[in-house]
Amino acid sequence: MRIYATYNIKGGVGKTTTAVNLAYLAAAESGLRAVLWDLDPQGAASFMFRVKPKVKGGGKALIRGSRSLDDAIKGTDFDNLDLIPADFTYRNMDLLLDSAGGGGSASAAPGGKPARKLSKLLAPLAAEYDAVFLDCPPSISLVSENVLHAADVIVVPLIPTTLSVRTLDQLTEFVSGFNGHRPDVLAFFSMVDRRKKLHREITDNLSSERAEVAATTIPALSMIEKMSVERSPVTVFAPRSSAARAYRALWTELRSRGD
């Protein structure tokens, strides 16, 4: 089982659309048994798959283990693709993870027990799934630290700005400090507008200079925004569109690097 996490400290950079499309491609085109966990209390990924953002017992039951992840899984409309829905209680997940890990300053230390709780919860899914996609909320928190520890690959959508490069540097530095398992980082430029000179310069330069930046870029396209209207992956409702082609290329590049 390979765990992919879409992560960025910033919101509105295309994490959810990326998670939704990659998870669909993994299931429908690569034939993998895939599950997407919508960790964002806003529930955008759940909305895209028309699943109610509700988990019985909330995040507390899942984190404490009184309800197994297995119980929370919902089938999507697509073969081989399941979803663990968001729940509004996920907004308190930091606290839940901390208390589940024993709390206290010692356990809350970087890389400590609470930071690895998510890994433990995901482990049983290996019997049933080939790929897990984690759609993370935008933050730096114990949740994101958990995600970074659990993931095999961190997929980082970046808006082509100077600041975004700094964000990537901070992330790679943070991950390189992990003891033991360290996830691969694959960043890619999202919402790229080739008409803008700055976008062109940054995407062209960084893609060639930095190994962890993908050659594939996802353009800013209205078809991607339409996903929330269609409530479906763009690869489903517009499979031949340039948006679908771009996500397909990203998935191919992602697999060629890690698998």
Partner: protein
């Protein structure tokens, strides 16, 4: 899509009636869900499936179902447990193993060594060997899938409509099948959909699979062949009628196997045919006289008829012996070759080649015999004679009449008395011959005892429906262990003799390399050692069966028998 939660079958006389019912189901579901076609679903489309099993249903009896699903390129073998999980709460959970295959010819028998490597072959090869997998029935079907949506437009269940029909010459349509499948996390919605379907007029819960329905449509059922006698006799039946019914059942087995023998589909057709012939001969010897008893209103045979049929069945038995003996050598060849210590397994290859060559020749003679007018006439005459006896009703002189007005046989003429008398006689013979055997007795005395034991075993099996199952099990268990010991003793001796004869013949034909003769010598030494071990075990086995406890068990069985 998860496996079917609930399966239904549409009933009605014809296709138009079925179409009407399906339309009603869809209309009913429309009331509770938004129903849309699922065009991209994997379960839809056309499919062609052929189910395979051995002639004696080894897979089905082991709780397995094997099907080949044809695809545009290659195909797939699917092995499933025969008990769908939704059939009963207590049923074991259903499982499925699949294996992609290419070049599989679904109309042909498949012998286990020819199965393509994979998980399905691994699971079934040992179970079916040495039998061939035969196509039982082929069904083509078209399936359409509809998605059932909730108010958010989310798929919460699916409706699968499958329209199967028999493939090949029959082309007969089978009743359509409707299946509601659950989407994970929405069990309540699937149950609701299933309730709606169940309440629609013209729909019944599917009690059988497509496979079983298709078999029924071609006049078959799973397990419709067994080499067990299991004749439908009762304790109060007239003895002659019971005897005829038992022998008719044996004739059914003989006839059922003739085609398989002639096509040389697998070695066990001949084995079963041969056993049924041997049983027939034993039955004639044990109670052939019952067929000759005079009684008004009842057909009967003369003593000469019985003697003629006995002689003819001996001819059939003898006809089968050479080929079967060679089959036994060839079937056990690998195992034998692995036991060699001094010689190498490859040293025996010329011997294998010689055996195979001999078998071709002997099989030709066997096939000629089974295709001959003599065999055809024997089978026809035997069936006609037995059918007359089995169907005739005893009336008039010598027959008592019961309260119902039905003729009642005298106790002395009933199946139960015949069973007790003839089984007792056979048992006494075994006890007498076996008791006389000492460590100094010649081999022939053990061979003779083996034949008497076979007769006794057959007598027990013929009349098994009349015995108490628990007592029967005890007696047969001890007898079987004694027979195994005697069989081991004699089979090894026969094989040693045969190998010697074959070695001489190979030498004469210039087909016996020295290493092969040495290896054959080593094989006979191994057989002699097994034979000696069996001989050493004889006294213990015989005492367990025919000692005081064994005699008491037999008395209980024959004295306390009652109709089941």
């Amino acid at each position: 899509m998860t496996p079917g939660l609930a399966g239904f079958v549409v009933f009605g006389d014809d296709a138009p009636a079925w179409t009407e019912v399906i339309a009603e189901v869809q209309a009913a579901l429309d009331q509770g869900f938004v129903v849309v076609p699922d065009r991209g679903g994997a379960a839809g489309g056309a499919a062609r499936r052929t189910w395979f099993d051995t002639f004696d249903w080894r897979l089905y009896r082991a709780g397995l179902i094997l099907e080949y699903v044809a695809a545009r390129r290659g195909g797939e073998l699917r092995l499933t447990s025969a008990h769908p999980s939704h059939s009963a709460d207590s049923a074991p959970e259903a499982w499925e193993i699949t294996q992609p295959v290419s070049g599989w010819q679904s109309s042909r028998p498949q012998l286990p060594p020819g199965l393509p490597d994979g998980p399905v072959a691994d699971r079934v090869a040992g179970l079916v060997w040495p039998r061939a997998l035969l196509p039982a029935v082929t069904v083509s079907s078209t399936a359409t899938v509809s998605r059932l949506l909730n108010e958010d437009g989310k798929t919460v269940a699916r409706l699968l409509i499958e329209q199967p029909h028999l493939a090949a010459s029959q082309r007969a349509a089978l009743p359509p099948r409707l299946t509601i499948t659950e989407v994970r996390g929405y069990p309540g919605q699937a149950r609701r959909a299933a309730r709606i379907v169940a309440l629609t007029r013209g729909v019944l819960p599917a009690s059988e699979t497509v496979f079983i329905d298709a078999l029924h449509a071609v006049g078959r059922r799973p397990g419709d062949y067994t080499n067990k006698v299991d004749a439908p006799i009762t304790a109060t039946m007239i003895a002659a009628e019971a005897a005829a019914i038992i022998m008719l059942r044996l004739l059914d087995i003989i006839e059922a196997n003739v085609t398989g023998v002639l096509h040389d589909t697998d070695t066990e057709f001949l084995h079963d045919l041969r056993v049924a012939v041997r049983r027939t001969r034993s039955a004639l010897k044990l109670f052939g006289d019952a067929l000759t008893l005079p009684a008004a209103g009842r057909a009967r045979l003369t003593d000469d008829d019985v003697a003629r049929f006995a002689a003819e069945f001996k001819w059939v038995g003898d006809l089968t012996t050479p080929t079967r003996d060679l089959d036994v050598h060839l079937l056990g060849f690998e195992e034998t070759a692995q036991t060699l210590r001094a010689a190498k397994p490859d040293d025996l290859e010329p011997f294998r080649g010689y055996l195979a060559q001999r078998r071709v020749k002997e099989f030709r003679a066997l096939a000629r015999g089974l295709r001959s007018p003599r065999f055809t006439q024997l089978v026809q005459d035997w069936r006609a004679a037995l059918t007359k006896i089995a169907k005739s009703k005893r009336t008039g002189k010598g027959a008592a009449t019961g309260r119902s007005g039905q003729p009642q046989p005298r106790p002395a003429d009933t199946a139960i008395t015949l069973a007790a008398d003839r089984t007792r006689r056979a048992f006494n013979k075994v006890v007498k011959r076996g008791t006389a055997i000492t460590p100094a007795s010649p081999h022939e005395s053990l061979h003779d005892l083996r034949k008497r034991c076979k007769e006794l075993r057959y007598a027990l099996e013929f009349f098994a429906p009349l015995h108490d199952p628990a007592e029967y099990g005890k007696v047969v268990g001890d007898l079987k262990r004694l027979q195994d010991c005697l069989g081991e003793f004699q089979d090894n001796e026969v094989q040693i003799d045969e190998i010697r004869t074959l070695a001489t013949a190979m030498l004469a034909a210039g087909e016996a390399p020295a290493v092969t003769l040495l290896a054959m010598g080593e094989v006979t030494a191994g057989l002699a050692s097994h034979q000696a071990a069996a001989r050493a075990d004889f006294e213990r086995r015989f005492a367990a069966f025919a000692g005081a406890d064994g005699q008491r068990r037999m008395s209980v069985l024959l004295g306390g028998g009652g109709e089941r």
